[in-house]
Structures are given as C-alpha cells and as structure tokens.
C-alpha cells in the first residue's frame, strides 16, 4: 500500500512509462500502467498484448518505455510471459541472472484477455508461472474503433452491436473474467478501477507478493468508446463502482474479500447516463431494459456479497 508521494518517489526520477505517447486525453490506461509499475519495487519486464497501449507507446523508432518491454501479438501475451518466466528460472538455476530477480507484468486490454487472449492466459494461470497479468478493461475493442467484446456490458452501443430500431445494443451479458481467473485456483485475483489508485496500488503489492500467478482486472474508461468528456474519467469510473456494476474485491488463496462497499449505492442508470454508449437506453420505451440491467447488477452483487461474507 503506497501513498501517492511514495509512488512518485518509487520511480527514482525515471518514469517507467514516459510522456510523449499518443494515448488519448482522459484514457485511464496510462494511469493504470503508472500506478502498477510505480508500486512494484523490483525491476520489471513488461509484456504487452496488441492494443491501444502498444500502438500508442512504441511507434518505431520511438518508445515511451524506460523498462524492458516486449510485444509479440494480440492473443499470446500470457504465453510470452510464460517463456520469460521460465527463462528467468532456468538462468537463475544454471547461469545466474544478470540483474537479479525481475517481476514480469503483462498489460492486455479486455480483447486480449477475455476473448482472443483467454486460452493463453488460462494455460499460463494453470501452469502456475510467477507473473502478474493486468487486464485494462475498457469494455470493447477500442483500438480498432469500439467493437463489442466479451467484456462489453449488456445494452452497450458499439460499432458491432449498434443500437437501432430492432436493437438495444449488446444483447448479451458481459463475461465474468475475474470469476474465470478465480476458477484457476491461483493465489491472487482482484478487481480494481483506474480511478482509485490507492486500492489498485495496494492490490498490486499483494499480487506481487503472491507466490505464483496473479490476475488483476482493472476497469478503465475510454472517452471515445464510452462517450464522455476526458475530464470526467474519475467521475465515470467511480460511478461504475458506486452503482455496484464493478465491485472492488480480491480473492486471496480462495478467500473472497470486498475492498469497498458503497454506503449508499447509486442506481445503475446514474452511471449509464454519464456515457453516450447507453444514451439509447435512456429513452422512455427502454425502461424494461434498464430494469433488467439494474436487476442483473444487484443479483451479481448479492452473489459476490455472499461469497465475501462466507
């Protein structure tokens, strides 16, 4: 757990992810990356799945990274991390490590985690590699122009689940990737949000301390895909937590614990109304869909609450 001042000091004047990259204003992804990397005290190697973060930070011959960084493809970041982690173990055992022990951190979007990257992630979690997988989940394929992913919420308007006369947006509920990670019986799994660095930083410390794989699912915004002003990033993300849509919790060696319980939860509609991707749901004739969303969120919260209370 770190104070903001400590996080800055941890960088020793060298930002792991420098400015000059081309991520959008109001994008939570660099916030997630900087919070994660500033928390980790050990040297790191970053593995990046294809996506906004990779494209916006490494346009050849420039790079925004001050730490060793590798990108191979979209779906295989966890497999690449498996190779680096195995290399580290082999070198430590046989030849010695040039710079001592290194923490391997993967950053992948929801497409590279929930969808195309899930097989490689599942394999790496099951094999028990010692690495941290951070999903920056902005709930759609934003890099290619806001297409629906397995993480896109029910009812969201995307370019491949457009709202229209015969459609209220995405007709399916989002995949519970955090639960899938928990199903791998890894030592540490948590949900966090880009707007709450204190909670995120604490979870990063716990994840790094865990012996074995750790999975962090971090909700972050996309001003373009969600449809909000860049300056509203913290407000929109906090609302996702306060309406119980995105619970902050962790599962340590199988034990569930809520990290935050909103004292007075807001309605899900109060979160949706902040984003144009849900604007179509706020029409009078869509009230039943809104009710369905509210009921889904409450049922999921109750289920999680029971697990945490057990």
């Amino acid at each position: 757990m770190s104070r903001l001042k400590t996080l800055v000091q941890n960088q020793n004047g060298v930002q792991p992810l420098r400015g000059g990259h081309s991520l959008c204003q109001g994008c939570g992804v660099p916030v997630v990356v900087r919070t994660v990397l500033s928390t980790i005290q050990k040297p790191v190697v970053v593995v990046n799945a294809t996506g906004c973060l990779e494209v916006a930070t490494t346009r050849f011959p420039t790079t925004a990274w001050n730490v060793p960084w590798i990108h191979v493809a979209f779906e295989n970041a966890a497999a690449v991390a498996s190779g680096i982690e195995s290399a580290q173990r082999a070198l430590a055992r046989r030849h010695g490590l040039p710079d001592g022990e290194v923490e391997i951190v993967v950053f992948a979007g929801d497409g590279g985690t929930y969808d195309i990257g899930m097989q490689a992630l599942s394999g790496a979690l099951e094999r028990g590699h010692n690495f941290l997988f951070v999903c920056y989940d902005n709930e759609a394929y934003m890099n290619t122009g806001v297409q629906r992913s397995g993480a896109t919420p029910f009812g969201a308007n995307t370019t491949t689940s457009p709202a229209g006369r015969e459609s209220f947006g995405k007709a399916q509920k989002r995949k519970d990737m955090t639960a899938i990670a928990i199903g791998h019986h890894v030592p540490y799994v948590a949900q966090a949000v880009a707007s709450q660095w204190y909670d995120l930083s604490r979870k990063v410390s716990a994840a790094v301390a865990a012996e074995g794989p750790a999975f962090l699912n971090v909700l972050t915004d996309c001003p373009v895909g969600w449809g909000h002003e860049p300056r509203l990033m913290p407000k929109v993300l906090n609302a996702a937590v306060d309406c119980l849509f995105w619970p902050l919790y962790e599962v340590v060696d199988g034990q569930y614990a809520l990290s935050y319980e909103p004292e007075h939860p807001i309605r899900v509609a109060d979160w949706l109304t902040l984003q144009t991707r849900f604007a179509h749901l706020l029409q009078p004739d869509q009230a039943p869909v809104l009710e369905r969303i509210q009921a889904q969120v409450e049922a999921d919260w109750d289920d999680l609450y029971r697990r945490c209370a057990a």
Partner: protein, 382 residues
C-alpha cells in the same frame, strides 16, 4: 559408436546434448517422440531445461520468443497443424530475430486430416523468414540439431532454424545413428547470446514495436538480409561440424552429378530412395544423378545453378502442391534455370504419406509420367 535410434529419438538426443534452457512442448504426431524423449531426459537429470507444457502450439512459439529474447537458449518441436496454428507467431519470431531452434516432423496439412509425411506444412511458412533445413535421414536430423543453434544464434543471422525431418519415414524409423560425445556438442554450441536480452533490466530495450509505412519496409528488408547472410553461416557451421563428425553438411548435396544428363531435385528422405535408383541406373550405364536441397530457406540458388550447369534434363519432385500455381520447389528451379539450356519438368508426389519406391524413381527418370505422380485414377476421386 552407433546406436539404433529413430529420427525422433536422435533429435531428442541432439537436444539433450545442446541442453537448452527452455523447451515449450505441445504434442502432435509425428513429432511427439521428440518432446517425450526430451522430457524424459529432463526427468532423469540428463537435460536441464525448464519444460513449459503449453496449451497449444501457438503458445509454444509465443513462449519460445519470450524465452529466447529473455536470454535463454530455447528449442521446441511441432508438425503440420501445430505449425499452421503457430504460423502467425513463426513470422513474428523471425521478425523479432529470435534464434529459436525447432524440429519439424513434416506432416500433411488438413484436410482431410492425415498424420503422414508431406512438406505442405513447411511450405505454409515458406516466406516467414525462418531457415528450413531438410534432413535425409535420422543421422542428418541429429547433425542438423547440433548445427542449428550455431546458425540461429550467429550475430549475422539471429533467426529461427527449423530442422525438418519427414514424418514417420524419419521420425519413427530406426536407423544406426552416430552420436557425438556430450562434451563435444557442449563445446561446439557454446554459450547462448542475444543482443539486448529482456532480463538485462539495466539496459531496457523495446522489443516488437509498431512500425508504420515510414519504417516497415526497411525493417522487412533488414530481416531478409539476415536470411541472405545465413548462406555463409550455414557453410561455415557445416564446415566446422564436419571436423567433428566427418560427415559433410552443406546447403546442397550433389549425388553422382558427373556427366549426368538427367538429374532429380528433391528434399528430405525421398533423396535416399532416389540415390538407390541412381546407383542402379548408373550400374546399367545411364547418366543420371540427384541434387538434394538441404537448405530450402535460404534457397542456395547460386550453388544449384552451378551444380546443374551441364545437365540436360532437370526433374523436380515436390512433396507439396500449390493449387492454382507452380509447386514450391519447381518454382525455385524454374527461377534458377531461367535462360539456361536445360529442360525442366516436375512432379508432385507422395502427398499425405503416399510412399515412393526406387522403381517409381526409375519410372520418373524414364519420362512420360504425369505431373501428379502416383495418383490413383479411381472414379471415386472425382
């Protein structure tokens, strides 16, 4: 001392002696004996790699890239559909200049699904930028396994090397194989080194960046140049290995080409069959020979042109088809022989593991055979 080993076992022994640091493994017939054999060597303490039991071949090559660029010597193996699944990452491995050594038990691609030998899997990744060496037999598959790390890791090359051995015909057939002493191999391959390994955190490097039209073309050309440089490195490493083994290793093997007027050009184990037929025909006074291509990528065009300079008829045997176009080896020979006085003809043969016998080779030398040699003319195959 010679041991009776299958090609798969011989490659596993070669890998044991190279003793890589990391080996991602995923089973697929007919390469599985290689990874099984190697896994047992690790279990018995005779090899010292970290085995990664990946969940797919796509992840096998992905993990291999991570490991090789992290600074660890890395080997793996695959066949057919496994190579097809990992093809995306094979291209990237070459572009990231990851010196991975991979044994490829050549097997026909689906569909229909088939487990036996042809070279369609190799040809699928023909243009990926990896080096492909085709062994004739178990001994050569072993020799290539020892040579491959030296070629892959050479600073002028830094590319994946595939040791291709025909599925079943080589992977599963037992032959006498002469193994080098472990210590000889250890000294021959030396220490693994790559520029800017990921685990050297004091010198952080960005691997695998995004390149737009202003740089992509130059980066692709640089990668192609590395493959060009591999010609000399293969010759050099082959020369050095011959000091240890006494066996020649080069990009081509000319067999009884002196005064030959008809020459077959082939890859892999079929060359052994052709040699037998050539010996028979030579004994009968016919001027026939064989040119075996050992290095399909890089393709040794200059050596091939020189070897075939005085040959009247060149006959190419392709164990892969190119529907709607010219089969891959035939296309290479057409390019090499363009403007020469030689006549060129070609046959596609042996797809999906259909055997080829010395008598077939005699028929091919005699001429008058169809472009698809050995194809049954059944009415069911409409």
């Amino acid at each position: 001392m010679k041991e009776l080993l299958t090609g798969g076992e011989a490659v596993a022994h070669g890998m044991r002696q190279v003793d890589p640091d990391v080996m991602p493994v995923y089973p697929i017939t007919p390469q599985t004996p290689i990874i099984q054999g190697f896994a047992k060597f690790v279990a018995d303490g005779r090899a010292h790699a970290e085995l990664i039991n990946v969940e797919s071949e796509h992840s096998a090559m992905s993990a291999a890239i991570g490991s090789a660029l992290a600074g660890a010597r890395t080997m793996t193996a695959t066949s057919s559909q496994g190579l097809a699944l990992m093809a995306e990452v094979v291209y990237i491995a070459a572009s990231m200049r990851a010196p991975i050594v991979m044994a490829l038990g050549n097997r026909a691609l689906s569909g229909p699904i088939n487990i036996h030998c042809d070279h369609s899997d190799s040809m699928l990744i023909r243009d990926s930028g990896v080096i492909q060496l085709f062994a004739e037999n178990a001994q050569e598959a072993y020799d290539f396994t020892i040579a491959a790390p030296r070629i892959a890791e050479h600073p002028d090359v830094l590319l994946p090397v595939l040791v291709c051995l025909d599925g079943f015909t080589i992977t599963h057939a037992s032959e006498p194989v002469e193994l080098l002493a472990d210590e000889q191999v250890r000294r021959f391959v030396g220490e693994y080194q790559v520029p800017q390994p990921l685990l050297n955190v004091s010198a952080p490097a960005t691997h695998g960046p995004f390149a737009m039209p202003d740089n992509y073309f130059e980066l692709r050309r640089a990668q192609a140049s590395a493959l060009d440089a591999a010609h000399d490195v293969i010759a050099l490493v082959g020369h050095e290995l011959k000091f240890l083994t006494g066996r020649p290793m080069a990009a081509i093997e000319p067999y009884r080409l002196d005064d030959a007027d008809r020459v077959i050009v082939a890859l892999g184990s079929t060359a052994g069959t052709v040699k037998d037929a050539v010996d028979e025909l030579r004994a009968e006074g016919e001027h026939v020979g064989l040119l075996r291509i050992c290095s399909f990528r890089p393709f040794p065009a200059v050596e091939v042109a020189a070897a075939l300079a005085d040959v009247t008829t060149v006959i190419v045997l392709d164990r892969a088809d190119s529907p709607g176009g010219t089969p891959p080896l035939h296309a290479e020979l057409a390019a090499v022989l363009f403007g020469s006085d030689s006549t060129l003809r070609g046959h596609v043969y042996g797809l999906g593991g259909r055997d080829i016998h010395p008598s077939d080779v005699r028929d091919i030398f005699a001429g008058g055979q169809p472009a698809y040699f050995g194809l049954r003319g059944d009415e069911c195959l409409v």
